[in-house]
């Protein structure tokens, strides 16, 4: 697959802080690329530079191999992390307004069906629930039938059910062959939706690749967690375990052997937890802090 957008050594500084520090990546056409990181990591700033909302201090962005030009805004769709619409308009009117701003338009009936907005068309946009509002904002992002869709933390603040419904919508867009570039700090969201991810922390990409490939590279098959207070007196840390907060954690390819070792040491296994590594674990390993505590 060819890259639809390529970023090379992107830099953005604000007074006293280097928000984006030499970020480079390429997004294949038709794929879903995720930028993962905690709040303040630089992922939204990176996205805004790609959207053309914010200017970079350095670096290069090429869309389909050439620098972006005035037609770029016609072929991209954007859903911001937080945004507002003009007051006193219905869902239908909001869709018509944004459709009128583009030369290329997707049939609104099709869009309404895709984003499940049929029953909301005459409702005031200020009276939508969180999930309904996100569906409208997604529809607005797609109103020009874009080739490249930017989604900035699209499910933040949604309840679990609404989040999963939204994932289905994004999956539908993926199946239409559109390229999606999304930011999130929900690891599950990235695992479900993204073909490739870049983990970003303090303005730098610290890992990049397919989610499963990244996990395989950095972790054995399973993680074993034992609460520290379950360890017998006199045992500070079992061999192969690391202290991470209140837990002793070991990454292992042989769960049976690890359990046998803990049993032999007299560790109470009541609160033992065995799991497969997640992207959150990956972030913790790479940075020393969790995704939502940075």
């Amino acid at each position: 697959m060819s890259a639809i957008i390529r970023v090379d050594n992107l830099i953005k500084t604000f007074p006293g802080v280097r928000a984006v520090d030499g970020v480079s990546f390429a997004v294949d056409e038709g794929s879903c690329f995720g930028l993962l990181g905690p709040n303040g990591a630089g992922k939204t700033t990176t996205l805004e530079i790609l959207e053309g909302i914010t200017d970079a201090n350095g670096g290069e962005i090429r869309y389909r191999g050439t620098p972006r030009n005035e037609t770029y805004r016609q072929v991209i769709g954007i859903q911001f992390q937080s945004t507002a619409l003009q007051d006193f308009q219905t869902v239908r009117e909001a869709l018509h307004l944004f459709a009128s701003l583009y030369t290329r338009q997707r049939p609104l009936d099709e869009l309404i069906a895709l984003c499940n907005l049929g029953e909301l068309l005459d409702r005031d946009t200020r009276k939508l629930s969180g999930g309904q509002r996100q569906r409208l904002l997604l529809a607005i992002a797609l109103v020009n039938d874009p080739e490249l869709v930017f989604l900035d933390e699209p499910t933040t603040g949604l309840d679990p059910q609404s989040r999963r419904n939204f994932w289905q919508l994004i999956d539908g867009i993926k199946r239409e062959g559109k390229t999606i570039l999304l930011t999130t700090h929900y690891m599950e969201e990235a695992s479900v939706l993204c073909d490739e991810i870049a983990v970003i922390d303090r303005g730098r990409i610290i890992a990049q690749g397919e989610p499963t490939q990244l996990l395989a590279e950095h972790f054995p098959r399973a993680l074993v967690r034992v609460p520290c207070d379950a360890l017998p007196n006199g045992i500070e840390m079992p061999v192969g375990f690391e202290n991470q907060g209140d837990y002793a954690i070991a990454a292992t390819d042989d769960i049976d052997q690890t359990l046998a070792m803990l049993n032999k040491l007299g560790v109470a296994l009541d609160e033992l937890h065995v799991s497969t590594p997640t992207l959150d674990d990956l972030f913790l390993k790479l940075t020393g802090h969790g995704l939502r505590e940075a």
Binding site: I53, R73, F80, S82, Q86, Q89, L97, L101, I140
Partner: protein
């Protein structure tokens, strides 16, 4: 410029205005209530000061005892024709010309003019044969008639400044501008849509208030409707552009509110809306010349009260459009989406 995009934003902004019932009601009823309030308050004015216009050199004019009279304000007049019109419409009680051929003008329909004329005669031991009496006639201009053009202009000012300036700052703060910036619409197209929308609102509301107050108060309209319309249009353009300039970069609604108040209050006080600037501090008059509201009020008053035509107020119209053009160019250059 893409007119389809301008039209889309124009329609959305209009919809936002007319569906906001509270805002719409305030825009229409506030000026009507203000005019009626003034009509009531000044229905029987207790005027304790007479006004006499003086043509010619004040130093030379001081030679007459009349000019030392107490309780009379003497105001130097530059333009003889304009000064005579002031007598005609009771804006001054008498006009005294002590230049080459001493004479005075008085309106026989004006009770105050009659009293001042008696004072004039008494100030001379023997009335000079050469002092010629000129009589003019004309219906008295009530204070409410005089203040109405100013009230209409103030309504235009508030609607233009807050209806554009404050709204754009609100759009910037809550992210509406950011969302629009993500689309192909340009800053110029967005600003044009805002100007057109506000012009429609300002002109519609002003026409409505004009007709409504005329039905209630039967005020004089002696000049050209075309001239008045162009004064209204030019004044609105200049004040909307001023609102755009204030909102070009400001992100805080509180700051915008403060700056808009800082601009509107001096204009309201110094533009001759409530009282004539004649006889006031020279510096205040000079500063007032730079305020768009001054030109708007002055031109509208001359059209409505003095019967001025398009040619008579062409200067003010040009000045207002020029102010609008300069401010619009500055705001378009300074405008930031975020």
């Amino acid at each position: 410029m893409n007119f389809k995009r301008i039209s889309a934003v124009f329609v959305a902004r209009n919809r936002e205005f007319y569906r906001d019932k509270a805002g719409l009601g305030w825009n229409i009823f506030m000026p009507v209530v203000m005019v009626l309030g003034f009509a009531f308050i000044f229905s029987n004015p207790d005027q304790n000061l007479f006004k006499v216009g003086v043509l010619g050199d004040p130093e030379q004019a001081r030679q007459t005892a009349f000019l030392d009279s107490r309780h009379i304000q003497f105001i130097t007049q530059e333009d003889e024709a304009a000064a005579i019109d002031k007598v005609r419409y009771h804006r001054i009680d008498l006009l005294l010309d002590l230049r080459d051929t001493p004479r005075y003008w008085v309106n026989d329909d004006s009770p105050d003019g009659h009293i001042v004329e008696r004072l004039l005669w008494q100030s001379f031991n023997a009335l000079p044969d050469t002092l010629t009496r000129e009589v003019v006639s004309g219906r008295a201009v009530r204070y409410v008639d005089w203040v109405l053009p100013g009230v209409l202009a103030i309504n235009v000012m508030f609607s233009s400044l807050w209806g554009v300036g404050w709204v754009i700052v609100r759009y910037r703060k809550n992210g509406v501008l950011r969302r629009l910036h993500a689309t192909p619409i340009t800053a110029g197209e967005f600003l044009v849509a805002q100007i057109l929308s506000r012009l429609l609102v300002v002109i519609s509301v002003t026409c409505l208030v004009f007709v409504g107050t005329d039905l209630l108060l039967d005020f004089p309209m002696r000049g050209s409707y075309l001239a008045l319309g162009l004064v209204l249009l030019a004044g609105s353009v200049s004040l909307i552009s001023l609102g755009l300039t204030v909102s070009a970069r400001v992100r805080s609604e509180e700051l915008a509110d403060g700056v808009l108040n800082l601009m509107s209050w001096p204009m309201m006080i110094m533009s001759g809306v409530w009282f004539s600037l004649e006889g006031t501090n020279v510096w205040a008059q000079r500063i007032a010349e730079f305020l768009p509201l001054t030109h708007m009020v002055d031109a509208a008053r001359r059209v409505m009260l003095d019967g001025a035509g398009l040619a008579d107020v062409a200067f003010e119209i040009i000045v207002l459009f020029a102010i609008g053009g300069v401010l619009l160019a500055a705001s378009a250059r300074a405008f930031r989406w975020q």
